[in-house]
């Protein structure tokens, strides 16, 4: 979401409070102090995660606080799953694996934890993949499976129930 703040103290709080009030999870706030809009306001890019139902209310409350909401870029990445990879993940260039999933355009790896015991031993990764639909998620998983197979990595997926639980 792109918002515009007046250049006075306390403004950011007015913008962010409604998000947390609605149970949203703020992921990043990019604040370009040196940039100004033609209106003289400071543009801010906020990325947050919230249940679909909460979004309209957040926008309403932010506006009520006197903050300009310039653009809402809704990426409905509400389908999530997670997988583990085992193998020479780092040697085989993990960023390539991540890019392969991101390049589908409708999914991304939103969380990644790596465990690397030592250079000679295989490492493992736990990754959370989010997508905008079930189909996109399935596609992302297929891409990941194919990439992993090429790289000789073992993919460990959750059992069906667990994927639903997330």
């Amino acid at each position: 979401m792109d918002i515009e703040l007046k250049d006075t103290p306390g403004q950011l709080l007015l913008a962010l409070q409604p998000i947390s009030e609605m149970g949203g999870n703020i992921q990043s706030v990019v604040h370009c102090h040196d940039k100004r809009t033609p209106r003289g306001t400071v543009p801010i890019h906020v990325v947050f995660e919230v249940a679909k139902e909460g979004l309209m209310e957040i926008i309403r409350r932010i506006k009520a606080n006197g903050v300009i909401v310039a653009r809402v870029d809704e990426r409905r990445l509400h389908e999530q799953t997670f997988v583990m990879l085992i193998g020479h993940i780092v040697h085989t260039d993990i960023s390539e694996t991540i890019d392969a999933v991101d390049s589908t355009g409708h999914s991304e790896i939103v969380d990644l934890t790596l465990s690397m015991p030592d250079v000679k031993r295989v490492s493992s990764a736990f990754m959370v993949i989010a997508a905008d639909s079930e189909d996109s998620l399935a596609l992302a998983l297929n891409v990941l499976r194919a990439t992993a197979e090429d790289k000789g990595l073992l993919v460990i997926e959750p059992i069906k129930d667990d994927a639903i639980w997330m």
Binding site: M84, T113, S124, F126, I159
Partner: protein, 351 residues
């Protein structure tokens, strides 16, 4: 049918082909349950026992204690046979009602059990078996042969030892559509994964420990490569979907590449790794999967567990000892009793 009518008033006579852990387990169970069975009005008599080299016959009922002792002392249960085919001799020369087939599993050919079972069915014997081999490539043939001959073929012990699942699917869940079955079907793999997670042992160490405890075989590949799980999955799928899937239809990944670090990372996220067999009507997969630590499939140690997802009953989960001589024999006994009761009804009310 004629034979069955003639049997009225006689006891139920069974042969045991294969007198190893399971065959001997059955003998022990029959001995220890003698009174219980008597009270139930069930009179089971073992009239022939064969191992790979010898044969013991006794039309009045074999003294099982002596048979067990003979096997223990000499490695042979009875008289040596030159034909090397005890099952055939039993079928040709001993009158009986039911054959228990408990010879070793051969997942490729299904032999010698496949021949034993088909011959038994062709000569009017019901069959109870713990042997997966014959079902992996010939499920439909076996079921069809039994049906054609108006005989029963039961195989509860082939999957999950004592864990009741085959008969659960066939009887208790009859009328349900089975959407998916998933389970931990191999106790050896489950033990290894449990130990790797608990003690941060690497695969080789956990395997070694399992071998020392007699949980894993000297050649563990059948278990750890997922072959045993896949065999059981084929049997479950064919039972649930009345398909004729074979071993080659299963996509298999074993547990040999799992590391303690991977298990630790999974645990940090609230999961563990289990070797899971999953069957739907058109897909059979055995692979290590992430399972929430709170999920029933995150079962520990050598236990087996399976979850059956159905349309009417929703989700049913069973678990139990996946192997063991007595545990497996218990599943065989239950199959025998089931057939006995049906047999009695056919005879006309059981008296």
């Amino acid at each position: 049918m004629n034979e069955i009518e003639e049997l009225s008033g006689l006891s139920f006579r069974i042969s045991i082909i294969g007198f190893g852990a399971v065959g001997q387990g059955l003998a022990k169970v029959l001995l220890s349950k003698r009174e219980t069975l008597q009270r139930m009005g069930i009179d089971i008599r073992v009239v022939a026992i064969a191992d790979s080299v010898s044969l013991l016959k006794g039309s009045e009922g074999i003294d099982l204690e002596k048979a067990l002792q003979a096997k223990e002392v000499s490695g042979r249960v009875g008289e040596e046979i030159d034909t090397g085919d005890g099952a055939r001799e039993v079928l040709e020369s001993v009158e009986h009602d039911l054959m228990v087939e408990a010879t070793p599993t051969d997942i490729r050919s299904g032999e010698p059990a496949l021949t034993h079972i088909l011959r038994a069915l062709a000569s009017g014997k019901h069959v109870v078996t713990s042997n997966k081999g014959p079902f992996i490539h010939n499920h439909a043939t076996l079921i069809e042969t039994a049906r054609k001959n108006d005989l029963m073929l039961r195989y509860e012990a082939t999957v999950g030892g004592a864990m009741p699942i085959i008969n659960l699917i066939q009887e208790n869940l009859a009328g349900n559509t089975i959407e998916r079955i998933e389970g931990v079907l191999n106790g050896t793999c489950n033990y290894i994964l449990t130990r790797m997670a608990d003690e941060r042992l690497d695969y080789q160490h956990a395997l070694l420990e399992a071998q020392e405890l007699g949980i894993a075989e000297a050649d563990p590949s059948y278990d750890v490569m997922g072959i045993d799980s896949a065999s059981k999955l084929v049997i479950l799928a064919n039972t649930a979907y009345e398909n004729d899937a074979t071993f080659d239809d299963v996509k298999i990944t074993g547990i040999t590449e799992i590391t303690p670090e991977a298990l630790e990372l999974a645990e940090k996220n609230g999961y563990t790794i289990r070797l899971i067999g999953e069957a739907t009507r058109d897909r059979l997969v055995v692979a290590p999967k992430l399972v929430s630590k709170r999920h029933p499939l995150a079962i520990r140690g050598t236990l087996n567990i399976a979850t059956i997802h159905t349309d009417l009953s929703k989700t049913i989960t069973v678990s139990g000892a996946g192997a063991g001589s007595i545990e497996t024999a218990s599943a065989i006994l239950s199959d025998i009793i089931h057939i006995y009761k049906r047999h009695e009804i056919k005879k006309g009310g059981g008296d």
